[in-house]
C-alpha cells in the first residue's frame, strides 16, 4: 500500500426504523417438500432402490452368461433359497450358527467388560489392554483355528474360542476409548450428585460412552459373524450339527452352485437384518434420540 492512498472511510447513510413489517411473500414459512423428495429422505427407500438395481444387474448378467454351474442368476438363487428354506435345511443350519454366535458374542462382551473395567480403574490395566489389543487385534481369528482345534478339538468350543477372539478386542478397545472421552464436566457433575464406584460407572460413564460402546458392539458383531462362517467352512460338523458355513461347503461339493449362492445370500440377509434392523433400532432409541449421533 502506498502512503498516499486514501484511508477507507465508511459512508454515512440516513437511519431508518420500520414501524410495521411488510407481509412475507414467499408462501408459508414451513412448506411441505414434494412427495419424491420426502420418500427419498428415508434411508430405507434409498437402500431398497440400490438392492433392486443390484438384483437387476445380477439377473441380466446371469442370463447372459447362461452357466448355472459357474454363476447362477438371481432368480435361480432365489429358487434355491426358497426350496432350502421350505425343506428346513437353511433354517436349521442358521439356528445352529446363531446359537454358537450368541454364546461366543456374549462371552466376548463379558470378557471385554472385565478388561475395560481393569483398564479404566488401574494404570497397569490400561497398559495391559493396550498391549494385548495391539498384539491380538490385527490377528485374523481364523489363524487361531488350528490352535483352537488342538486345544478344544473339533466342535463348538473351538468355534466359540475364535469368536471370542474376534469380538473381545474390538469391543474392549472401543469401550475404553469411549470411557476416556467422557468429559470432565460430566464426571464432576456425577460426583456432585454423590455417585461413586459402580453406581458412577453404570449411571454416568456407560451411558456417556454409549456411542463408542455401540460402535464397538457393531464391529464385534461383524467380526464374529464372518469368523464363524469361515470357521464352519473349514470344519462345520460337530455331532452331525453343521452351521451355515457347512451348508455352503456341502453345496459346493455337490456342485449345487445355486445352493452356495443361497447360503451366501443368507449370510448377507442375516448381516443386513442385524445391522439394519437390530442395531438401527438400538441407535434410534439411544444415541440418535439423545443427539449424541446424527
Amino acid at each position: 500500500m502506498s502512503q498516499t492512498a486514501m484511508k477507507l472511510e465508511p459512508v454515512i447513510r440516513p437511519e431508518y426504523v420500520r414501524t410495521t413489517l411488510p407481509p412475507v411473500t414467499t408462501g408459508a414459512v414451513e412448506a411441505p417438500l414434494p412427495f419424491f423428495q420426502r420418500m427419498f429422505a428415508h434411508a430405507i427407500v434409498r437402500r431398497a432402490l440400490i438392492l433392486v438395481a443390484l438384483a437387476i444387474v445380477w439377473e441380466l448378467y446371469g442370463r447372459w452368461l447362461d452357466n448355472p454351474l459357474i454363476f447362477p442368476s438371481f432368480s435361480e438363487t432365489l429358487q434355491s433359497l426358497w426350496d432350502n428354506t421350505i425343506n428346513g435345511r437353511i433354517p436349521q443350519r442358521l439356528g445352529v450358527s446363531m446359537r454358537i454366535l450368541v454364546m461366543g458374542y456374549a462371552l466376548g462382551i463379558a470378557l471385554a467388560a472385565i478388561f475395560t473395567t481393569l483398564a479404566v480403574s488401574t494404570r497397569i490395566g490400561t497398559d495391559l489392554l493396550s498391549t494385548l489389543t495391539a498384539m491380538f487385534n490385527p490377528m485374523p481369528a481364523i489363524a487361531l483355528l488350528p490352535l483352537a482345534l488342538l486345544w478344544f478339538g473339533l466342535g463348538v468350543p473351538s468355534l466359540i474360542f475364535v469368536i471370542v477372539h474376534s469380538v473381545l478386542w474390538a469391543v474392549a478397545l472401543n469401550a475404553h476409548a469411549g470411557f476416556l472421552a467422557v468429559s470432565e464436566t460430566q464426571r464432576m457433575a456425577g460426583q456432585t450428585f454423590g455417585l461413586r464406584g459402580l453406581r458412577f460407572v453404570v449411571q454416568i460413564l456407560i451411558p456417556a460412552a454409549f456411542p463408542s460402546i455401540l460402535s464397538g458392539l457393531k464391529i464385534g458383531w461383524a467380526f464374529a459373524w464372518r469368523t464363524l462362517i469361515a470357521a464352519e467352512l473349514v470344519f462345520g460338523v460337530s455331532a452331525g450339527q453343521g452351521g451355515l458355513g457347512w451348508f455352503i461347503f456341502e453345496n459346493r461339493n455337490l456342485l449345487e452352485t445355486a445352493g452356495v449362492f443361497a447360503g451366501l445370500m443368507t449370510v448377507m440377509i442375516v448381516g443386513l437384518f442385524i445391522e439394519g434392523v437390530i442395531f438401527q433400532t438400538i441407535e434410534r432409541y439411544t444415541v440418535r434420540r439423545w443427539g449424541m449421533q446424527r
Binding site: S183, T185, A189, Q191, F210, G291, M292
Partner: protein, 268 residues
C-alpha cells in the same frame, strides 16, 4: 480467620455457613507444581450472593472446585457448617460453564430428578420436585425434551433447576453464563436475581466480568492473579439491574477495575 482483619459481623449470633481459612491450593501439571491460590480466607453467610472475581489465572475456579470438594487444600481448611469438606457431595451443587453438564441420555425432567433419585428420593416425589423447579425457571414446556434440543441458555437454566431441586446448602456457579451470548446472559442474570428473591438461597458465583459481579453479588471477593490472593471484599448489595450504567455503579466498577488491572502491573 488468622490472615485477615476480623470482619464486622452484622449480628454475632449469625454463624457463617462456609469458612475458608488460610487456604492454599496447588495442582500439578506434567512438570510444574502450580500454586493457584495462596492463603485465601473469607466467610460466606446464609443468603449470600458471594462473588469470586478476578482475572484469568487468579485461581477462582480452582477455589470453587475446592469448595465443591474436588481438590483438597495443601494448607488451611474449608468448613461447611463447621464440618471440613473432604469430597464432593449433594449439599453443594455445582453449575458449570459447559453445556454438556446435562446428561444427554435423559430428558429435562429426568435430568432434574436424577440427583434426587440418586440420593434416595422416590420416583414420584422426585418427579414432582423436578416439575416444581422447572416451573420456577419457566421450562415446564420443555420438560420432556432432550438437552440437545435446547438452546445454550435453556441448558443452563436446566442445570440451575437441577441444582436448586436438591435444595443444597449452597449453589456453586462456575462462570455459568460465560458461554452465552450477551443478550441471553443479561436475561439469565436477571432471572437468577429474581429466583434468589423468590427462594432465598446461598450462592457462590465465579466470574471475570466486573459488571456481572456487581450486578449478581451482594459481596465481592476480589482476587489478584498468579497466585490468587485476596485483594478486597466489597459490598454490592445496593445495586440491581436498574442501577446498571448509573454513576455509583460505574464508580464501583471503576474501583474494581483499577484494583485488578492498574495495580497489578506496577512495572509499567
Amino acid at each position: 480467620m488468622k490472615h485477615m482483619p476480623t470482619p464486622h459481623y452484622p449480628d454475632a449470633k449469625i454463624k457463617p455457613l462456609l469458612e475458608v481459612d488460610g487456604v492454599t491450593l496447588q495442582y500439578k501439571t506434567r512438570d510444574h507444581l502450580v500454586t493457584a491460590t495462596s492463603q485465601v480466607s473469607f466467610e460466606i453467610f446464609p443468603g449470600d450472593r458471594f462473588v469470586l472475581l478476578g482475572p484469568s489465572g487468579c485461581g477462582k475456579s480452582t477455589l470453587l472446585k475446592a469448595i465443591a470438594g474436588f481438590i483438597r487444600p495443601t494448607q488451611g481448611a474449608i468448613r461447611l457448617k463447621g464440618q471440613e469438606i473432604t469430597r464432593p457431595g449433594p449439599d453443594r451443587m455445582m453449575v458449570f460453564q459447559e453445556f454438556d453438564q446435562l446428561m444427554p441420555w435423559k430428558t429435562v425432567r429426568q435430568n432434574v430428578a436424577f440427583p434426587l433419585r440418586a440420593n434416595g428420593m422416590s420416583a414420584g416425589e422426585a418427579d414432582m420436585r423436578a416439575m416444581d423447579v422447572l416451573e420456577k425457571v419457566n421450562l415446564t414446556k420443555f420438560a420432556d425434551a432432550y438437552p440437545h434440543m435446547l438452546s445454550g441458555g435453556m441448558k443452563q437454566r436446566v442445570a440451575i433447576a437441577r441444582a436448586m431441586g436438591m435444595r443444597p446448602d449452597m449453589l456453586l456457579m462456575d462462570e455459568p453464563y460465560a458461554a452465552l451470548d450477551a443478550l441471553t446472559r443479561r436475561k439469565m442474570q436477571q432471572e437468577l436475581l429474581d429466583l434468589w428473591d423468590d427462594v432465598r438461597f446461598t450462592v457462590v458465583f465465579v466470574t471475570h466480568s466486573i459488571e456481572e459481579a456487581v450486578l449478581i453479588g451482594n459481596r465481592i471477593l476480589v482476587l489478584s492473579p498468579h497466585p490468587g490472593q485476596v485483594k478486597a471484599e466489597l459490598n454490592s448489595h445496593h445495586f440491581d439491574a436498574s442501577h446498571q450504567g448509573g454513576a455509583e455503579f460505574q464508580t464501583l466498577c471503576g474501583r474494581i477495575h483499577t484494583m485488578l488491572f492498574d495495580e497489578a502491573q506496577p512495572a509499567h
